[in-house]
């Protein structure tokens, strides 16, 4: 079998991603799960790089694993997870609660894989592609400042909304005094 090293690397990081995701989903400790999630994201970054998308890989590591996951960790810190919570998770995770979702997921997975593998006409014959070209940051940048300029602006609106909403929702409620009636 003529598997190249890049291909092998791709399979390996893919498996790491899958395994790590499995650990995320079946974990009882929130912090452990988050860390596994970070591992999964990093493995995916590896996959991105191997597919010729270095800019995306970098962004994955910096933004996704570095910012969003950190945000998760901060939130977990606020929630103050302790042993009772972990025990309760243990309680909640009976094998009965896995049966239904697993079955459904497997059916869906089966269907999607069937659809994927029965595709006859990929645009390029995969076996004839000899080399994955690197699509570097320059190309991405020229697209971002070109055709996708409006999308970028709208994404900024979205982030603004997320910012304002996040601030508002997490604001501390004013303390109710005994003389005040009604609902807040």
């Amino acid at each position: 079998m003529n598997i190249e090293s890049g291909q092998l690397l791709f399979y390996v990081s893919g498996s790491i991603a899958v395994l790590a995701s499995l650990f995320v989903v079946t974990n009882k400790n929130a912090v452990h799960a988050l860390l596994y999630l970070v591992v999964s994201l990093l493995a995916l970054a590896m996959c991105f790089y191997l597919l010729g998308a270095p800019f995306a890989a970098a962004l994955q590591i910096i933004v996704y694993a570095g910012a969003i996951m950190v945000l998760f960790v901060f939130a977990v810190m606020i929630f103050n997870i302790n042993q009772t919570d972990i025990d309760r998770e243990q309680q909640w995770l009976t094998w009965q609660s896995w049966v239904g979702p697993s079955l459904l997921a497997m059916i869906l997975l089966g269907e999607i894989v069937f659809v994927l593998l029965s595709q006859q006409n990929w645009a390029t014959n995969p076996s004839s592609v000899t080399q994955i070209e690197l699509v570097d940051a320059r190309a991405v940048g020229s697209l971002l400042f070109g055709p996708y300029l409006l999308a970028v602006e709208i994404a900024s609106f979205l982030l603004l909304a997320g910012l304002v909403g996040g601030y508002h929702l997490a604001k501390e409620l004013p303390k109710k005094t005994t003389t005040q009636g009604g609902s807040q």
């Binding site: 989903v25 995916l44 597919l51 998308a53 929630f79 909640w92 994955i132 909304a161």
Partner: protein, 101 residues
């Protein structure tokens, strides 16, 4: 180095399914959010694969947009989770069933 593109998409589907399992079977809202992150990542991988297939940067651009969506969503989601915890004391999503009947 070449990667058969179907294998990439199979990886996407696999990750997506794992995220789905987590979403449906976990009661803790935090874990549900994490599972949703896995699913989003699977989607992002699919776009990158497509971009690689066509040798164009569009896949990465879409990936950036997905990234920003995920960021906003996580921010708001966690804020809501904080609120939820203040309201009902723990993060059990089954406690939010006032819309029943």
């Amino acid at each position: 180095m070449t990667v058969p593109i179907e294998h990439g998409f199979v990886l996407v589907a696999l990750l997506w399914a794992i995220g789905l399992v987590g979403l449906l079977s976990r009661k803790n809202t935090l874990f549900m959010l994490m599972s949703m992150e896995i699913m989003l990542n699977a989607g992002a991988l699919a776009f990158i694969l497509a971009g690689s297939l066509w040798q164009q940067a569009d896949g990465q651009v879409i990936y950036i947009l997905i990234l920003s969506i995920a960021a906003a969503e996580v921010g708001l989601g966690l804020a809501l989770l904080i609120r939820l915890r203040q309201h009902i004391g723990d993060l059990d999503i089954d406690k939010l069933d006032e819309m029943k009947g």
